[in-house]
């Protein structure tokens, strides 16, 4: 029993130290060698923003038609004393990149004589081509102390600061930016 208690205590210490190593503060996020600040339309100008942790960007693609990236992005909300860390996976369907759809315009007009460039815009509105999936999230204070992660509202669990990545959402531009960091080109500039 004593041994069991000792191991449990050791496990707790390890967990706490592990968490404290991973914790991130707002001051650390300003280190441009480690993080890239994304300036978004939706920012209030009060110091909020999104930061990509550059060392976590990973190309995990397994399919030629779909590029996949996993990374960590931090969303800072100073008014709520909150840094929310997202581990997120993005899947990019290359067939739906804007450049690819525009390049296929002659094919579309041949098949559908009334097809317009506006139909491409509406296609993107129906299916942006990017799917963002939050794999994990963790909350910190601005000073970098862990705080309990608030569960999403019932029925809105899929809505986060980074998802869904609909074409007319700011989160779509974040995903495009992440693609450029890994592949050197915006997703919507890819033509197959």
């Amino acid at each position: 029993m004593k041994r069991f208690l000792f191991f449990m205590a050791l496990l707790c210490v390890l967990c706490i130290s592990f968490n404290s190593v991973k914790a991130i503060s707002n001051a650390e996020l300003q280190d441009t060698s480690r993080f890239e600040h994304i300036i978004s339309k939706g920012d209030t100008g009060g110091g909020d923003g999104k930061y990509i942790e550059l060392s976590t960007l990973r190309d995990i693609s397994t399919d030629a038609r779909t590029k996949s990236i996993e990374t960590k992005i931090y969303v800072v909300l100073p008014s709520s004393d909150l840094i929310r860390e997202y581990t997120i996976r993005y899947d990019y369907n290359l067939t739906y990149s804007f450049a690819n759809l525009v390049a296929r315009m002659p094919e579309f007009t041949q098949r559908f004589p009334d097809f317009s460039l506006n139909d491409i815009w509406n296609l993107k509105m129906d299916e942006s081509g990017i799917v963002g999936t939050v794999k994990a999230q963790q909350d910190y204070t601005l000073n970098g102390e862990s705080k309990p992660t608030q569960p999403g509202y019932k029925g809105y669990e899929h809505v986060t600061f980074l998802t869904p990545t609909d074409f007319d959402f700011e989160s779509y531009h974040v995903a495009n930016r992440v693609f450029k960091k890994v592949f050197g080109i915006f997703y919507d500039d890819v033509s197959r």
Partner: protein, 194 residues
């Protein structure tokens, strides 16, 4: 004599009211009304589906200004809302001002000649910043599905604003584009200003 005059006025006014009223059957049955946009909102649970359809009165479209790349068109359209409690129709009058420098065709062309490597992503950003279309939207009348006018104390909508290329303005963008097609036989976004 005066009674005859009054009687004639009553008959005329009744006739006028009848011709101005619009019913769901007329919108669906007459070729002058074109269904240009429809959306069904599906709610989970016990709520049934709500539906919205926009019909453009294609005979109403008139050109107010033509000074390419700037165009101004006016027209009338009807929005049919179908809820569980019934069908309602709203008549709108819209004046749309177009700048074809911001059509997708023009933005793509400008991108292709301005840079050695054209950026379609930059086209998206530019189109989202400015759609190229402004609208002056006025709600005119409200009807029940059978065409009888609804009297309401709720003020009629009047908006003067740029259109956004987002889901929230997708219905009005479809109306503005359909008006452009009626007037010029071409979609707004297919115009290329060189």
């Amino acid at each position: 004599m005066f009674r005859k005059f009054l009687l004639a006025c009553m008959v005329l006014s009744a006739f006028t009211v009848q011709t101005q009223a619009i019913s769901i059957n007329e919108l669906n049955g007459s070729p002058q009304f074109k269904n240009v946009y429809q959306k069904t909102d599906s709610y989970q649970g016990t709520y049934p589906k709500d539906r919205l359809i926009n019909y453009l009165n294609t005979y109403s479209v008139e050109a107010l200004e033509y000074a390419a790349p700037h165009y101004k068109l006016k027209g009338t359209f009807y929005t049919v809302y179908t809820y569980t409690r019934g069908t309602f129709i709203t008549e709108y009058e819209v004046t749309a001002t177009y700048n074809t420098n911001y059509s997708l065709g023009s933005l793509i062309h400008a991108s292709q000649i301005a840079q050695p490597s054209p950026s379609m992503y930059a086209v998206i950003k530019a189109a989202q910043d400015d759609s190229g279309i402004q609208i002056d939207l006025r709600e005119v009348k409200r009807f029940n599905g059978d065409g009888t006018e609804v009297s309401s104390t709720v003020p009629l909508v009047h908006q003067l604003r740029p259109l956004d290329r987002s889901r929230s303005d997708q219905d009005l963008f479809a109306i503005a584009d359909a008006m452009f097609v009626v007037a010029y036989q071409q979609h707004f976004d297919d115009i290329v200003v060189k």
